[in-house]
């Protein structure tokens, strides 16, 4: 991991400019999609908001996943789509391969929603998402970057009581000890969020991911304690900023160094506290007079 880090970061540094550019394009697209809806509330609206919206828009541009506008005309058939929703990983025909080639094989299986809900969803998507509004969040300011950093490190607490990002994630060079690595142990692919901004489809994608996380553990952790809009804006701004500015890695694992230095300091402190402890008598006595 440590040896790979420099290479990865070099890659990030080169790629970030392009990605940020893309991200801002996404933002434009997002803004366009926020048109008032028409018609009555469709059955698929609510499930779409909770299960699909974090990664997809309908006509709002791509996020992590593709924009679903015009889906009806793109997919091979309604049956294909149903099967794909239930088991995306297991669907490997030509069309599925094409989608995966573009967006990666990251779509979570939705079989748990049940056939009824899935059919509602398909109707809803085929109908072009009637009643779906995309809330337009305000643009980020430089103050948001700072607030985002403080939210990330826990200097400022998340308003609804969610855990600070640093408990499980790290950002290269953020603090001396880096951040948590717990996310690795709970199975997430990414503990280091330096490049989360680009990975998650730029500002719009990351905002969506944060507002309603779909990741296995984060989903549960933030289910009852969602981040507020302002927090989402700030964190996204911060992560966006980090993805631009992260310097090449220092090339060493500070955690180990701090750990060793800390352990030595602790031992010295303990030795001083118990300086008058009994060591030995006979050995010194006999050794000293040899």
């Amino acid at each position: 991991m440590n040896r790979m880090l420099p290479h990865l970061l070099l890659l990030f540094a080169v790629a970030s400019l392009a990605c940020v550019f893309l991200a801002f394009e996404g933002r434009e697209a997002n803004a366009q999609a926020a048109e008032p809806p028409a018609g009555t509330k469709a059955a698929g609206l609510d499930p779409f908001k909770t299960s699909c919206a974090p990664c997809h828009t309908i006509g709002g541009g791509k996020l992590v996943g593709p924009d679903l506008a015009g889906l009806k005309d793109r997919v091979p058939s309604r049956e294909w789509l149903l099967a794909f929703l239930k088991n995306p990983a297991g669907t490997n025909d030509d069309y599925a391969k094409k989608v995966k080639a573009e967006f990666g094989d990251t779509m979570p299986a939705q079989a748990a929603l049940g056939d009824n809900v899935l059919n509602d969803l398909i109707d809803f998507m085929f109908a072009g998402g009637p009643g779906l509004t995309v809330k337009k969040l305000r643009g980020a300011t430089p103050e948001d970057i700072d607030l985002g950093r403080r939210l990330f490190t826990g200097e400022a607490r998340l308003a609804n009581g969610g855990p600070s990002c640093i408990s499980c994630h790290s950002i290269i060079g953020l603090t001396g000890l880096g951040g948590g690595t717990l996310a690795a142990t709970v199975g997430a692919k990414h503990t280091d969020l330096s490049n989360a901004f680009n990975r998650n489809g730029g500002e719009a994608g990351l905002r969506a991911s944060l507002a309603s996380p779909q990741f296995l553990v984060m989903k549960q952790v933030f289910a009852d304690k969602p981040m507020t809009e302002e927090e989402v804006i700030a964190l996204t701004a911060y992560l966006g900023d980090v993805s631009k500015t992260t310097a090449p890695p220092p090339g060493r694992d500070y955690f180990v160094i701090y750990g060793i230095v800390g352990a030595i300091a602790l031992l010295i402190a303990l030795d001083l506290i118990w300086i008058r402890r009994f060591r030995n008598v006979r050995k010194t006595l006999v050794g000293g007079s040899k």
Binding site: F278, N280, V281, R282, K283, L285, V286
Partner: protein, 498 residues
């Protein structure tokens, strides 16, 4: 007045021949089990020497005993607050090396070795690890001044002795040593009891014997650090601490403790002392120079009608009072004042007293002939010409006060002078009587001291009171039932855990 009885002891150091019979008797009874091999409830040290464990008297290292802080006594090694940070690692414990690593020999090699050109050898193996070891020290490594340039030279009692005198101690004409047998002192103000976080140690109410409850001991080892005489030991096998129990099962059946019973030099005396328990705290806090007198003060006259009345009121059985009146220890400590407590500056108020030894005089080598004594014609020497510096004995027995040692030695010399004048007659009686006067003693007292030191019978040396265990047992059970159900001895062997 809160009158209590204490089984107390006197060791007469002039009579100890350093045979270690006492140590062996004790070891065979109490400490030959696994985990106790290194313990010597009774040990005999050569003085000057560093003893067992090495330099135990140096409390700047071992931190045993009490100190006065403000107007309170506090333990040097631990306390209610200090125990919290130290409970899982007591920083003042002697290491095994400071006692010694117990060993045996691989005797079977003597029989099983294949035939060869050399004698088979039994190699030493550790009794702790079972591995071969290089023996580096033993419980009595400096016996009879062995290695004296290291051990004797570093005796903590020599710290107040001048450099010149120290040098002289090593010179052949001045070479001197005596034996110092030690057991638990069953102190009146025991540091071991006070230090125990589990309350496992206690001082028996009826006879003052200090014991460790093997069921309550939790291996914190606070007592090991707190006892300034290093007379509690940790058993690594059972996970409990153990100490001298003054052979209480023997005492309860009217027998002297094994080390007393077996003593070849007949140096040991045992009997009751009555004391005023209300004054222990006050006495233990006295300034160092007043401690010896203070402790003597604490001991009550068993013939005083007031004391007897108070003892009766405290519920002391009549027999106990009678035995206290016949106690040889009372005579030595309070009447003759020739027995002194060891290192009372540790403030535990030890109840084992020592009669300091009359050591050989300086030799002189006038005319190339070695003369025993500076003044060749004197039969009994002036003890200021003793080979061991007076300050040394004072450091051991009187917190550095040489006058107290002189008082005792003068009396001991007076006894000898008087008896010599009486039986041999080569000293004029007038000289002897003069010596008595100087020594603050009388013919009658000298006769008593002579009888008790030279001719005592078993029953005079050990005046063992009836222990009235049945009365103690009665508190929780019918003593007859107890005897039938439990019998004597251990009902469960001590082992780790609750």
């Amino acid at each position: 007045m809160n009158v209590r009885a204490q089984v107390s002891m006197v060791f007469h150091l002039d009579k100890c021949i350093g045979c270690h019979t006492c140590s062996i008797a004790c070891k065979n009874i109490w400490t030959d089990r696994k985990g106790t091999e290194y313990m010597w409830f009774n040990n005999v040290e050569t003085k000057p020497g560093t003893g067992y464990p090495t330099q135990w008297e140096d409390q700047s290292k071992y931190r045993g005993g009490w100190e006065v802080k403000g107007d309170r006594l506090r333990l040097k090694s631990t306390g209610k607050g200090r125990i919290i940070t130290n409970i899982f690692h007591n920083p003042h414990l002697p290491t095994m090396d400071d006692y010694y690593e117990p060993w045996t020999y691989k005797y079977e090699d003597l029989f099983n070795a294949p035939a060869g050109t050399d004698q088979p050898t039994a190699l030493p193996i550790s009794k702790v690890t079972g591995e071969y070891i290089d023996i580096e020290s033993g419980p009595n490594w400096d016996d009879d001044l062995g290695g004296s340039n290291i051990y004797a030279a570093n005796d903590p009692n020599l710290k107040d002795v001048s450099e010149e005198q120290r040098q002289q101690l090593q010179a052949v004409e001045r070479l001197v040593f005596f034996y110092f047998p030690r057991i638990c002192n069953h102190c009146l103000n025991p540091a071991c009891v006070a230090s125990c976080p589990s309350g496992a140690l206690y001082k028996r109410g009826e006879d003052g014997i200090v014991l460790i409850n093997q069921k309550r001991c939790r291996a914190w080892r606070s007592c090991v650090a707190a006892c300034p005489y290093k007379k509690t030991y940790y058993n690594w096998s059972t996970g409990k601490s153990e100490k001298c129990l003054l052979c209480y099962p023997r005492l309860e059946t009217g027998q002297a403790p094994a080390c007393f019973h077996s003593c070849v030099g007949r140096i040991r005396y045992l009997g009751l002392l009555l004391y005023d328990a209300d004054r222990i705290d006050e006495i233990a806090k006295l300034p160092p120079e007043k401690l010896v007198e203070g402790q003597r003060d604490l001991i009550l006259d068993p013939n005083d009608p007031n004391v007897i009345a108070a003892a009766r009121k405290a519920g002391m059985p009549e027999q106990v009072i009678e035995f206290a009146q016949r106690s040889p220890v009372y005579q030595f400590v309070k009447v003759w004042k020739i027995a002194l407590p060891p290192h009372i500056e540790y403030r535990t108020l030890p109840m084992l007293y020592y009669v300091p030894p009359l050591l050989p005089v300086l030799g002189s080598t006038a005319n190339q002939v070695y003369e025993n004594g500076v003044d060749a014609k004197a039969i009994f020497h002036a003890f200021d010409q003793q080979r061991v510096p007076m300050g040394y004995l004072a450091s051991l027995f009187s917190v550095g006060d040489e006058a107290k040692i002189r008082y005792v030695l003068r009396k001991l010399v007076a006894v000898r002078t008087f008896k010599r004048a009486e039986t041999v007659g080569d000293i004029p009686m007038a000289v002897a009587l003069e010596a008595l006067k100087l020594a603050d003693t009388t013919e009658a007292e000298v006769e008593d001291i002579y009888r008790m030191t030279s001719l005592p019978t078993f029953a005079q040396r050990f005046v063992i009171p009836p222990m009235h265990r049945e009365e103690a047992i009665e508190a929780f059970k019918d003593p007859q039932d107890h005897k039938r159900e439990v019998g004597f001895g251990f009902t469960a062997s001590p082992k780790r855990g609750l």
